[in-house]
């Protein structure tokens, strides 16, 4: 394939992915928005007003970056996992497998499509959060950089999950038993300063903690961990996940018999 042909193939996959989640917007865009609004109402306004400050910020301003990041993470992951597994289940992934589209283009197409949903939902949630909390951006490059890299990383992880999945249970196990606990314990609702010494250290092995804190630093200028650590970790994870995912596609694992 020429470079132009590869670009057309890539554009086709991304366009199809975007059309997919827009076509089923009541399932893909609406629920995360409703969930996050409820979080804002309950944790931000109702309970938050009684909590007071967290790390020197009003509680609603403290949780807002975490809630935005949580929506980016879950939507980036769940979009690719359901789309790719759906393609496997209906066997229309074969449309791509019989084509000359290189595997790295297939990978990038699905991942970018999924990032579009993650970032799109993140943007909607950000706009909604302005209704509940006042905040300005402390550092735009850090805010945008970490949200892009986080979305990329979880899209790659979602694709790997989808490749291995044999049934619909397999695509809900990781989000339920891994992603949700990591997100809830990843400093979205509290500062790790509140935890004892031991649990603070345990929290440091949770990658979501780094992403949430780097994003909070980008918006509010405060973080429990050094921000460069977050970029290094997310960058390294993304590179590793990219090559794992590519290797799975090259080998045709669970895609070609």
């Amino acid at each position: 394939m020429t470079k132009r042909e590869k670009w057309i193939a890539f554009e086709t996959i991304v366009r199809r992915e975007i059309q997919r989640f827009l076509r089923i917007w009541p399932q893909t865009l609406l629920p995360p928005v409703i969930t996050i609004v409820l979080y804002f109402v309950i944790f931000g306004t109702l309970i938050g007003s009684r909590i007071g400050e967290m790390s020197g910020l009003p509680y609603i301003q403290f949780v807002a970056p975490g809630l935005i990041m949580m929506s980016v993470i879950t939507n980036s992951y769940s979009n690719v996992v359901s789309s790719f597994f759906g393609s496997k289940f209906q066997r229309n992934i074969e449309e791509l497998l019989v084509s000359p589209t290189p595997n790295w283009i297939i990978l990038l197409g699905f991942v970018i499509g999924s990032m579009c949903r993650g970032l799109g939902v993140g943007l909607i949630v950000t706009v909604l959060s302005l209704y509940f909390a006042d905040f300005s951006i402390h550092s735009l490059p850090i805010t945008v950089g970490i949200v892009l890299m986080t979305s990329l990383m979880f899209s790659l992880a979602g694709l790997i999950n989808a490749v291995f999945a044999r049934n619909f249970d397999d695509i809900s196990i990781i989000p339920t038993f891994v992603l949700t606990p990591l997100t809830y314990l990843g400093g979205v609702f509290y500062s790790i300063e509140l935890l004892g010494d031991f649990w603070s250290k345990v929290s440091m092995i949770n990658p979501v903690l780094y992403m949430v804190n780097a994003f909070r630093y980008g918006i509010a200028g405060i973080s429990d961990i050094p921000v460069y650590w977050a970029f290094t970790m997310v960058g390294l994870f993304s590179v590793v996940l990219f090559f794992v995912a590519l290797n799975l596609l090259e080998k045709g694992s669970r895609l070609r018999s």
């Binding site: 042909e5 366009r15 019989v98």
Partner: protein
């Protein structure tokens, strides 16, 4: 000239040590209309799966118009269009989108893809359904949609895995006509089917595969010449109460106005008619009782089976 398809010593062993293909070799020439026949589980779909890279081969070589599927996979895939046995498109997408997207995966710009999509959807009688969710299409329409999708990048080799399964007779005939046209325009076609009259009607050359081995690879004409005898049904004018006896021709009385006669290839049908006339029986019409290729197919597969048992 490079063969449209060249398969050499192709082996496939699935997990659990099931050997689906046992070193098959096969060539299909450009422009051919080729039938790949065999009973269920013989290895037809595995062979097709390997050609279009949905199945990973264990060993052997496959090249399409001279392009090896391992070393020159991109070009090899550009040459092949495949219509699988089972529906494998997104049932929630519209036919027009399925076709335009498929063209995109082959690097075809959207404007050209849209023109081609309209052309093939019209040719296959699906244009009025182009903007409805494809899950609402009938079985026959879904099959035609898969043919349109396989043609969207205008491949030189079209591989169809039982394209008319479950399709009514009228639609099957119109699909035959369409495939003949495509073939006449230069597209090489490989077809697997369980309808042997379909292979006999459409194809020039044939390979019969059984238990992962090619047991016959020849032209349809030569294959049919192997058939030693045929069974004819004769409708006669007279009301017959007993079966006539003509030397050399085993005859069975079916009912008062029809007979079944076994005629060997070396025997003359004229001689049969002459003898019947002498016996005062006038033949009104005559037809083959069984499909000739079907008879031969069962004969070959049965021989292969008894050969396996003797091994």
């Amino acid at each position: 000239m490079q063969p449209a398809l060249a398969i050499s010593q192709l082996n496939k062993t699935y997990e659990g040590d099931f050997q689906a293909l046992k070193g098959i070799s096969l060539e299909v020439q450009p422009g051919d209309f080729f039938a790949l026949l065999g009973p269920n589980g013989a290895g037809k779909s595995t062979t097709i799966g390997i050609i279009c890279s949905l199945v990973l081969k264990t060993s052997g070589r496959v090249s399409i118009f001279g392009c090896d599927i391992d070393t020159d996979f991109s070009q090899a895939k550009q040459y092949v269009g495949v219509v699988p046995q089972e529906f494998n498109f997104n049932q929630f997408e519209k036919p027009i989108d399925i076709l335009i997207n498929q063209a995109g995966y082959f690097g075809i710009p959207r404007e050209i893809a849209a023109e081609r999509a309209e052309k093939y959807l019209r040719q296959l009688g699906l244009w009025d359904k182009s903007h409805v969710p494809s899950r609402t299409l009938s079985g026959g329409m879904k099959r035609r949609l898969m043919i349109a999708r396989a043609l969207i990048h205008e491949p030189k080799l079209l591989v169809l895995d039982e394209p008319t399964a479950g399709v009514d007779i009228e639609l099957r005939r119109s699909m035959w006509e369409f495939l003949r046209e495509i073939n006449a325009q230069g597209t090489t076609i490989i077809l697997t089917t369980h309808y042997l009259e379909e292979a006999e009607s459409l194809c020039r050359n044939v390979a019969i595969i059984d238990h992962g081995q090619i047991i016959q690879n020849t032209s349809i004409r030569e294959l049919l010449q192997q058939l030693n005898k045929e069974l004819f049904v004769l409708d006669v004018r007279e009301q017959l109460s007993e079966c006539p006896s003509i030397e050399g021709y085993p005859i069975t009385l079916v009912d008062g106005h029809s007979l079944e006669v076994e005629v060997e290839k070396s025997q003359s049908i004229n001689a049969l008619f002459g003898a019947l006339s002498q016996a005062g029986i006038h033949v009104l019409s005559m037809r083959n009782k069984t499909n000739r290729l079907e008879e031969l197919f069962f004969d070959l597969v049965e021989k292969n089976l008894s050969g396996d048992k003797n091994d």
